[in-house]
């Protein structure tokens, strides 16, 4: 049985390892920021639902 084509983690170019943004420099920080904004939206929408119910 021939080996399956190996899917290894990509060898990122140096420029790709950083976001290039001044505040959120790493991708990990970017993903946490996106999750934080998502949680904030859910909180705000929940408040809107209850406040005007």
């Amino acid at each position: 049985m021939p080996p399956a084509p190996e899917i290894t983690p990509p060898a990122s170019a140096p420029d790709d390892r950083r976001t290039g943004l001044p505040a959120l420099r790493t991708w990990r920080a970017m993903y946490w920021f996106v999750l934080g904004v998502f949680a904030l939206w859910v909180t705000l929408l929940t408040w809107l639902t209850r406040h005007f119910a």
């Binding site: 899917i7 990509p10 859910v42 929408l45 639902t49």
Partner: protein, 566 residues
Amino acid sequence: MNAVDYLVMFGVLVAIAAYGMWRTRGQHDLKTYVKGGETHWLTIGLSVMATQASAVTFLSTPGQGYESGLGFVQNYFGAPLALIVISIVFLPIFRRLNVYTAYEYLGQRFDAKTRLLGAALFLIQRGIGAGITIYAPAIVLSTVMGWRLDLTILCSGVLVVAYTVTGGTPAVNLTQKYQIGVIFAGMVAAFFMLLAKLPAGLTLHEALTVAGGFHKLDAVDYSFDPAKRYTIWTGVFGGMFLALSYFGTDQSQVQRYLAGSSLRESRLGLMFNALFKIPMQFFILLLGALVFVFYQFEQPPVFFNQTAWHQQAAGAQGAKLRALETDFNAAHVEKQQHLHEWVAAERAGDDRAANTAQAAALAAHQRTEAARAATKAALREADPKTPTTDADYVFITFIVDHLPHGLIGLLVAVFFAATFSSKSGELNALGSTTVVDFYRHVHQLRGTSRPDAHYVAAGKWATAFWGVAAIIFAMSVTLAENLIQFANIVASIFYGVVLGLFLVAFFLKWVRGTAVFWGALAAQLLVFVLYATLSISYLWYNVIGCVACMLFAVALQLFLPKAQRI
């Protein structure tokens, strides 16, 4: 619409299309034609957003806000999570293997037959979807404006096909950037005009209080009731599943973010959507909820598809329809009186009076809704083919009846711009997949590859073929009411299996081509059989197709004779 509106509408649409054609003329390189040039992350982000947001988004979603409130926003709760997964897992692999299409990756990971299967499933479901993308807004706009449906479809279809064929991906990305700009400008202008049209002295807080009193601001539902269509749980889990399928495996989206000049640009384009998708949908739904408030203080029609109502009112059901309209108007006038009492009591801080007035307004509202339901029943009785859902007509009716000329033209341009942006993305992907995964692939297998210019020409012919097919489909269908649902059903029947193929490719590295190919075919067959025999929500076929594909592939890999485990 008057001459100013037509001037604004044609000016905006033709200028964007012509500029796109001119800037991207003379494409002879397949990589540029299919993958685009060195695209900036903001262009990618706007392009991804524009491909997803069709005219239906801007016509139907405010209507949904008007009828059902903000709850539909929960459908998008899974999108940020899915986009993060795609950014971490899918995108780096697509870029590292330098693929032109998502299905090319299946060929590299498995084999040629699995690649062709993935591409074929995409072509079937997206080919049908392309016809519906152009038909759905055309039926609403032609009905309200009194235009000929076939000419509306033909004119809008020919323009979008022209620039998509000549310029390929660079033209699609470039025009989408300006189209989404027009869309944002139009929707923001409509929002401020709507606020200005609310009764004098009514503050935004009071408008939201009225909307909330009629449950139009119920955005998040934490209940576990499986009968409810939109809850936070269906949104996060079901929405994530759908978004993974759509953004991760649908070539119309994959092609947008593979256009990035680097992995960084593509990722930032996806994160732009992860951040702004929910607020955008919330804003459009809120617009609908505010249109609802506006029509509490103005007299709305008993049925927003006025053309259909007038047609039947002139027939045998005329007396009944006019009597229902009288009942509706009387209940509405009574509701308005109670609304003014309610707002006055709120301003005076008199909670007891406010509650009493609100209860009276809600009771009157129930009578207006009963009159609307009876009207729909009467319309159905008069002619079973008459469309009896009018939510798609709410926003366009408000625009035509209450906004100034010039802005009407701009907002009709918004609906066409949204049609063009999603349609061009679809046609571009259909043409690319046809050439890259079938035509060029067969040449490569036979060892008869041709120069790039040949495949660019083939790509243009393939895109034109799909464009003409979509126009013919749109001009020949007669389904007036269930087209959007039909499109979602078709997508759900195929999406699950395609996602299953990709998840096996990414996460089950020991499963090979033969097992996943037959597993996917068996899963697709199972979905067809279940669809024909069960009466469950079509959204479940996404889950069933994906899980079945993965399970069948694993089982076949374990039990296939050793010689066939490749």
